[in-house]
Amino acid sequence: MSRGSEPLLRVSGLRTWYPIRQGLMRRTTGWVQAASDVAFTIEPGETLALVGESGCGKSTVGRSILRLEHPQAGEVVFEGRDLLALEAHELRAARQRLQIIFQDPMASLDPRMRIREQIAEGMQSFGIGRDDQERGERVAALLARVQLDPATMDRYPHEFSGGQRQRICIARALAVEPRLIVCDESVSALDVSIQAQILNLLRELQDELGISYLFITHDLSVVRYLAHEVAVMYLGQIVEQGPTDRVFEAPAHPYTRGLLAAIPSIDPARRSAAPAVLGDVPSPSDPPSGCYFHTRCPEVMDRCRSEAPSIVSLEQGGSRCLLSEPRTEPRG
């Protein structure tokens, strides 16, 4: 998807597998195939939503980009440099431009540190702000920007509600002036009225500062509101990818269609019929043969059990499905 210039982030061929070690010698007896052959790009000022159900590998991808995991293969080119090839000290500098916000703000905030210190910590280590006073002023401005009272900066995390804590995490991420923020289920634990506030805030910040987001979520209903592009993951692979409107209005992969159909609607005239996708997600340490989705696919064909759909059609903006591959006559 070339737009003339290099994208902010280009991930290609990313593979992160976790070894399963067993026995006295801790020999590797298998692999949890958390992410395989993952590829996507994020443009400056845009949002890519990475969606899927639990265990699909979406968080692994987010963490791999930040090198919080150890990918075995692939490239993560951020602002022109491959993060996977960087030395530790170079990586540290790159991380200033690349932040992450998690689902549970309480787990990522230090309960014994005042929020002023936590927000200023990153600035200090990246040399932003001349002295404590200047950093204090920046903290106040950041808190005001995420709609918290700057007068609360000397409080501790437990004195805030869940939604307010997530605002603090956003302020902390913004403090080091990132270009890309990975949001890993960042609104999933919030009540819907609070979730709306945080989603609005994220979008305002993007409009103002031109930040990009990699928005990782299991909840497709928030994706439409926030994302320019969507990538749907299933068992460690991206199965469909494209502009948000296209994916929602004309989903190409049977799994995407099933996911969209499964979301309970609040339209009283619409109560869904029988569920489209049956059964449970298979284990990522022993994925099915052929197409990984064939065990649950309502449109399964014989070929699907043996033939793995290729990624070529995916790069053309389609889906990883034999049905969306250009028709080729079987030979001989």
């Binding site: 159900e53 009540d191 309970p264």
Partner: protein, 328 residues
């Protein structure tokens, strides 16, 4: 015809530094035979506590301080502990969000269902096992015979939830209390469980008290909806009426703040502020601190119940005032 379950003026309080906090405050509703009533609210609304109070399962130091809960006319608050135990898991079955909170991790799931059946009915082990097997089949567990001998950890989240539903159904309950039964599940599995609950409810004509924060699930399953905010009911109505034409400002805000799948673009309408904690509840209407249509009486006095349409109950000063004008 009287309702199967009548909850009247139920109040539950927890002691605190500032005196007793009424986390459930004057809640009244009926549940008819074969009806699905959804109790909806955000965290801290008191929806789960209302169900726990009705079953007399309020965790200490909280306790029910007032009201009645009548099952077929009999007040559960007057029953002895033993009688109450026979009701729970007997005429009233329960399903929770996290199946592992009610499954024993070291006992095979079949044995757990057999035990539940034999606790309430004098049947032989073999008979109970046969019933467990047919229940497993009924709730859509593939290969039920083999699954009876599985331990909980060998089952996926969706299968564990099905086991819990089978266990809840094992004593042929008239009422099923389902507290966020699909919240921990993936969306494709959630759709399967919702469809299962709908089928079971129809086939068995069981009443369901469904506790959820998700209005989409309400739409899928409920006949009627009761919306709670900060320990009190704010609106009760038929499903379609509530979703199409919410009257209480809180219900309206809640519905608007759901990101629509079909309408991207504009900023999401927010409900400003946060749900206040129980020690900061306003004296009057509890939603008054966040309400866009607040006026004089709201902060000071509780709104009375109004019935703007048949089957609809609203607790809001504004609705009260406009209804009064309409009547004139």
């Amino acid at each position: 015809m009287t309702a199967l379950l009548e909850v009247r003026d139920l109040c539950t309080a927890f002691p605190s530094g500032q005196g007793a906090l009424r986390v459930v405050d004057g809640v009244s509703f009926d549940l008819a035979r074969g009806e699905v009533l959804a109790l909806v609210g955000e965290s801290g609304s008191g929806k789960s506590m209302t169900a726990l109070s009705a079953l007399r399962l309020v965790p200490k130091p909280g306790r029910v301080v007032g009201g009645e809960v009548r099952l077929d006319g009999e007040n559960l608050m007057d029953l002895s502990v033993t009688e109450m135990r026979r009701i729970r898991g007997g005429r009233v079955g329960m399903i929770f969000q996290e199946p592992m909170t009610c499954l024993n991790p070291v006992v095979r799931v079949g044995a757990q269902v057999v035990e539940a059946i034999r606790l309430h009915e004098p049947v032989s082990k073999a008979e109970a096992r046969e019933r467990a097997r047919s229940l497993f089949a009924e709730v859509g567990i593939p290969d039920p015979e083999a699954r009876l001998d599985a331990h909980p950890h060998e089952l996926s989240g969706g299968l564990k939830q099905r086991v819990m539903i089978a266990m809840a159904l094992s004593t042929r309950p008239e009422i099923l209390i389902a507290d966020e039964p699909t919240t921990a599940l993936d969306v494709t599995v959630q759709a399967q469980i919702l469809s299962l609950l709908r089928d079971l409810q129809r086939e068995r004509n069981a009443a369901i008290l469904l506790i959820t924060h998700d209005l989409g699930i309400v739409n899928e399953l409920a006949d009627r909806v009761a919306v709670m905010y900060a320990g009190r009911l704010v609106e009760v109505a038929e499903r379609a009426a509530l979703l199409e034409d919410p009257r209480h400002p809180y219900t309206q805000g809640l519905l608007r703040s759901i990101p629509a799948l079909s309408a991207p673009g504009e900023a999401l309408p927010e409900i400003p502020g946060v749900v206040p904690s129980p020690d900061q509840w306003p004296r009057g209407c509890r939603f008054s601190t966040r309400c866009p249509r607040r006026f004089e009486p709201c902060a000071e006095t509780f709104p009375a119940e109004t019935t703007p349409a048949p089957g609809r109950r609203v607790w809001c000063h504004e609705v009260e005032t406009t209804e009064g004008e309409d009547a004139r």
